[in-house]
Subunit: 192 residues, 2 copies
Amino acid sequence: MKKSLGPKTLLYPTPVLIVGSYNADGTSNIMTAAWGGIASSKPASIAVSIRSATATHGNIVQRKAFTISIPNESQVLEADYAGLVSGREHNKMAELGLTPTPSELVDAPYASEFPLVLECRLVAVHDLGMHTQFIGEVVDVKADYTILNEGGGSVDVTLLRPIVYAVGTQGYFGLGHHLGKAFEIGREAVEK
Amino acid sequence: MKKSLGPKTLLYPTPVLIVGSYNADGTSNIMTAAWGGIASSKPASIAVSIRSATATHGNIVQRKAFTISIPNESQVLEADYAGLVSGREHNKMAELGLTPTPSELVDAPYASEFPLVLECRLVAVHDLGMHTQFIGEVVDVKADYTILNEGGGSVDVTLLRPIVYAVGTQGYFGLGHHLGKAFEIGREAVEK
C-alpha cells in the first residue's frame, strides 16, 4: 500500500554538479545544480537543468559551453554556497578561495580545486518550464591523479568520494558501503 | 595537475532507475537505467535515456508513458538483473517474483515491491546518439508508508536507502553519512 504524494521531483539520488561558465565581462562564475545526469554514451553527453533567471543560464547560451565539476565530500560547504547566491552579485570563486582555470577545449572555466571536471560543448537546449535543460557533449574529462584507479585509466569513486544529494528533505550525504558490481551480481539470477 | 581521460561520461553519482512499461502484448516490462535525473521543477519532470535497441524504448514511444521506481539497497540484485537481460526474451517481473501493478494515471505498470514510484507521462523525446532521452512529466509519486518522514508529506532518504551507482568501475553503493543540510550549511559563508 502506497501513499500518493502528488506530482513532485522525488528521484533519488541526485548528483551535486558545479557548473562553470564565463560572465559577459569575462570573469568566471560557478553555480551548483542537482537537476542533471548522464544523457548519452555516444557522443558522451550530460544534461543539466538551470533556471533562466540565473547568470549561468545566460552565460551558457552566450558561450555555448560550460564545465561540470564534481566536488569531493569535504567541499560540501563550497558546493552549498555556490547554490545560495547569484554570480550577478558575488564572485563566488574568489569568495571561496577557488582558482579559476580556463578550459583549453571549450569556452568555459573551472575551479582547479574540484577533483573531477567535464568540459562540455553545448549541443542542445530544451525548454522544460521552470528549468532549461542544457545538453553538453563531453569533449574531455580531467581528473586529479589522486582519484584515479590502479592503472590510472578511470576514476575510483571511493577516492573521489562525491556528494550524494537527497531532494525533499534536502540533505547532502557521503558515499556508503559497496553493495556489489554492476552487470555481475544480477548474473547469478540469470544463470539459474 | 589533472590527467586527461578523454570524452567519457564520468559523472558521479548516478541513480538506479527501474523503468516500467507495457510490451505490445500488454505484459509488463522493467529495465534498469542509470542515465537520467530530474529535468525541471515545474512541471515536475524527469529525464531518462534509453538505447533504441531495447524493448522499453519501443514501449514508451507506443504508450507515451512510463514509470520510474527507486529500489531500496536490499533490491540491488533485482535492479542489476533487470539491466542484464531483455524484456523481449524474459518476463523479468515474473522471474524476479515482482508484482506488476497498473498505474491508474498513466499507461504503464510498476512493481509494487519497490518503495517509491514516479508515474510519468511522456512529454518530449530527444535523439542524442546512442541513447534517446525521454522526458516524463511526473503525474504522481507514490511511496510506501515505511519511507515517509515524520508528518508523512515527503520521503526520508535514510528510510528509502536508494542505490547509488558509480560509472567507470560500475559499482553499486549504499547511502553514506549525513554531511549537512542544503541551503543551510553554505549560509555560514554567505553571512560572513
